[in-house]
Symmetry: C3
Subunit: 289 residues, 3 copies
Amino acid sequence: MDVFAFFNLNELAFGLSKLPMFPYFDMAHYIISVMSLREQPGALCVSQRSPLACWFSSMLYCFGGAVLSALMLADAPVAPLSNTTNLLLATLMWYLVFYCPLDVVYSLASLLPLRLVLTAMKEVTRTWKVLSGVSQAGSKYSDALFVMVAVGWAKGAGGGLISNFEQLVRGVWKPETNELLKMSYPTKVTLLGAVVFSLQQCRYLPIQTHHLTFIYTLFTVTNKTRMMLLGSSSHPLSSLESFLYKTLFVRPLTDLSAEHTHSKHNGSVPEPTTAQTHTKEAEASKKTN
Amino acid sequence: MDVFAFFNLNELAFGLSKLPMFPYFDMAHYIISVMSLREQPGALCVSQRSPLACWFSSMLYCFGGAVLSALMLADAPVAPLSNTTNLLLATLMWYLVFYCPLDVVYSLASLLPLRLVLTAMKEVTRTWKVLSGVSQAGSKYSDALFVMVAVGWAKGAGGGLISNFEQLVRGVWKPETNELLKMSYPTKVTLLGAVVFSLQQCRYLPIQTHHLTFIYTLFTVTNKTRMMLLGSSSHPLSSLESFLYKTLFVRPLTDLSAEHTHSKHNGSVPEPTTAQTHTKEAEASKKTN
Amino acid sequence: MDVFAFFNLNELAFGLSKLPMFPYFDMAHYIISVMSLREQPGALCVSQRSPLACWFSSMLYCFGGAVLSALMLADAPVAPLSNTTNLLLATLMWYLVFYCPLDVVYSLASLLPLRLVLTAMKEVTRTWKVLSGVSQAGSKYSDALFVMVAVGWAKGAGGGLISNFEQLVRGVWKPETNELLKMSYPTKVTLLGAVVFSLQQCRYLPIQTHHLTFIYTLFTVTNKTRMMLLGSSSHPLSSLESFLYKTLFVRPLTDLSAEHTHSKHNGSVPEPTTAQTHTKEAEASKKTN
């Protein structure tokens, strides 16, 4: 790529692509993951009631992507446990964040500058995970673009995608929402990454792997840092998203009558079980459509 | 089989067994599956809120059997995504049924004659799926009758059997019911198919594969067509079912008093919450035990 | 081990380790498992409404460990179905316990002396299952201690660990509790067994397999028998557990204020609904963080 040569970024990109994740970046990933678990409502209470459930939940936050992608490719989901060093590191982070005397570790890591650095480092690990998921899928199903996207996405955003079941470990069950119904920013940006890396691996994107790694890492890190500093949840993908949504998925005007009939149907047929939400949705759709 | 020779059906049966499912029968299966998703309460609303969740739900309707049987045999559940052509076809059907301008596709396919043809074609694919599930299991576990029945059933009726989890994708959770507690007609007829095909593959049924394929397909297609035309939910298996149930599973006379308490409780309250039912049954069981 | 030689227990221990589980011990395991299912609230009702769901639930009680450990090691979870003899034996026990004329089998097996013997025999099968799980994991991931513990535990206590999903088969959903949040005695003793057998297999415990088998079996059988005879739920592990808990997981003094708020909330309302707890904890965590 000429731009890379022009700015003398070739070596930087190549160096980045050779960066080892273990131990510092992995550690940052574990700390930030366990901290986001600790900030879930009820998590502190669970850490007192059942350290084992709390530990298992933390491991799903740390290794959720590896577990989910293993399940999808029919590899052993227990494999992350076989990497003893990483498991012990994650367990140490879990212990320090939840049970450290005087709560030193959590208090320190919560300070904005340190949290910013750790979060940025965690974002770097995302690139590596997406890329490894895509390659793993590609080595099993060569040129199966959709498998590569799915596995890359699962490996990079696994903790989020299995959040319903992770919550279940802590005794929390929120069936009315999940990451597919309402995607969070990390899930979206990981999907984007899985798509571009898969396209690149299938040679639809004429760019070298280490260049793409560099661009994507730069994008996720700056974006996340900006969002944390400004405290805003808007991101550069929103406009693309809303454009795609409006073009493809808004139901046409002529459907009004049909929709109306439907919502009437749904209103009239008594559905006692799930719910009030449905009735509400039916009503809402009556109004909007 | 002499009957086949007598009616000159041998060639017809053989021809049927060589019928390719792709693309027309597969397409019919996808359309009817996505249409039945669209007719679920709340599904249209989900299609507007999150096209991705709607798409994933549709894929579970279309490929649920393949996913479930892959999970059961420790094959990669992501494999259906690797068949790009079928996936794109299913995605196209999903898009047309949910978002087609003027809602042309859904309106057309809902017309009784067309829907009848499509449903009949979908029933044909069921035979193929059951048979492929049974053979797949048989090649891994030869002569393991129960594995063959289970996998054949899962492959043919997967969408129904995993419905609890498919609903969860759409934010709906109905734990109080599932296809094992209250089997629907397609699940029952698929179980019957899985049993007869497994018996045939284990050589307990002295009949050739293409003859059995012919008979079973004829049975499912005529039966489904009759049910749709008459709008009735009765089917020829009901009497066999009720006979088996009465012979094997009705609890003996000595339990009548306890049972009576049960049925009174359940009769008086039409749909009590699960918790209430539990307390009542706990009381009843205290008495009996 | 000298103690074994001293008491002439070597041959006894060796003989025990060669004891075949099939058919008597397996049968005891199936009967006791199905009986404990029958004693769940609502189970009798399910056995009348849907024998198939009841049967599937029973098989999860009987083979849950095998299914869970297969899933964890990416083996086919359908494999227990391929052992036709054991499956038929379990099915027979299920039928006799639930539908036997005059309820003879359940009434007989509920008599304390018989139940005591059967339960003791079931405890013996636990040792075999834990050991087989540990070896299975060890043959796939040699020296991966954590994998061995996890798989051994899953194989020995599988029915309990998947109880949320087993209940779902019967239409019961209790997300607010699971075996990780609140471990039962069998789950705890199986975890202990998985840990000691894994340590022994990794050669951290200098003891021979058949000696450990003997000690662990003796421990579980006497312990369970004592608990059944005294009707007490206290066990020799409680003190170890509470010591470990107090040393490792009690939050330090500086958190007292936040904790105090927590405990007050939790103390005043004995068992608040999950949603309420969440709101309270969300408020509390807002204050502390």
